[in-house]
Symmetry: C2
Subunit: 203 residues, 2 copies
DNA sequence: ATACAATGTGAGTAATCACTCTCAATTGAA
DNA sequence: TTCAATTGAGAGTGATTACTCACATTGTAT
């Protein structure tokens, strides 16, 4: 019941509802009811409903602007000395995939609403896109230099990686319940990473 | 002004608006205004607003249930005899990617709304998912048998392929205008296909 | 304890929503 | 032409929307 708490509860409830129902389909009255606060309280903390979405976006940017982009480089530097570098790469990718999977709700909300609201799109591109692009360039450049990756456009590699991750997440989040999927997420990740690294062709 | 025309005009307008604004954010009055009909006319042809979305879905199923899933197998069977099979594969993938690119609006609407409306999800899984899964199993099984693909789960391969395509489409549809992308879609496709076939690692 | 600002509340508001209803225009068959 | 059915139209409906406002409660500093 602390003061700062209510804002967080509202935000968390909003994320849940935005994910399950969509932004426009979620009413402020429903957020209030589910958060256990009065509707007026929402507008005490957020000027408009859209501002809640923007807060969600900042949450997203915070997570992915830092955790996603900065950490893996530190990891790869500290761990790549004594281990097989391909294994380290796998670990890092798995770590990234797990992060994506864990924040699938945030990702979904931002990616979908990005298409409808240009301001969000710009923010995402500015804060995530460029940073991610630069980091990935480093990431793949490092791999290329050490003879792990072949020559190629880092953007294409990044796109492929994100595509693989998205495919995984979509399958598990959207199709898994009620579908025929019996494999664990961990196993699927291994397959996806292997496929991303080695392709489908016989070598 | 023909009778059957108005229904088509309404549907087409709805697709445009659903794509640019989202389903719930699009009002029936706006559809009516943009389609140049009275609001009552909409409900003469569609019982509810949701029924318009279901009509969009059937449009989607029609296109992808046949054109997308059935035809490529016929193509690969008829063409793989005398041509380099890897080239045939490329052609087919390119064809599929183009189809996805061309129907990106339909795909977006269905994929997003699928998450919110269980009935749509079921229909998509029943009509597209399973069909696509079976076809792809054949597709990759054929490749494995002929020593083109290595052993592996067709589902993972399918997921990777769809991921690659999604990454491409997302990049081009969501980021391209205003972004730093200068490459043609064709070139990006080649890169994506190459990456999907051979992976990022040095062989 | 008192004062003051910050936070919480819920009834209230105008606008908009999906949808209905009544009636006019158009159609096709006789 | 005549009749009946289908289709188009648009004002009207209750419900719901995001948001406001006057007031109650809380926390903090003096």
């Amino acid at each position: 019941m602390a003061r700062e708490n209510k804002k967080d509860v509202i935000l968390q409830t909003a994320i849940e509802l935005f994910y399950t129902k969509g932004f426009t389909a979620t009413s402020t009255s429903e957020i209030a009811a589910r958060a256990g606060v009065a509707e007026g309280t929402i507008f005490r903390h957020f000027k408009t409903k859209k501002e809640i979405l923007l807060a969600v976006l900042e949450n997203f940017i915070e997570v992915y602007g830092h955790t996603f982009a900065v950490q893996p480089i530190q990891d790869i530097v500290s761990q790549s000395k004594d281990k097989d570098i391909k294994e380290v790469l796998k670990l890092i990718m798995k770590d990234r995939l797990t992060l994506i999977e864990q924040n699938a709700e945030l990702i979904w909300i931002v990616v979908t609403e990005m298409r409808y609201q240009p301001e969000i799109k710009e923010k995402v591109i500015d804060h995530i896109g460029q940073k991610l692009f630069m980091i990935m360039r480093e990431f793949f450049a490092y791999g290329v230099e050490n003879g792990i990756f072949r020559e190629g456009d880092p953007t294409a590699m990044l796109r492929g990686f994100i595509g693989s991750a998205l495919g995984l997440v979509i399958q598990h989040k959207a199709f898994a319940p009620g579908g025929t999927t019996t494999k664990s997420l961990d196993q699927s990740m291994d397959e996806a990473i292997d496929l991303f690294l080695n392709g489908v062709c016989v070598q």
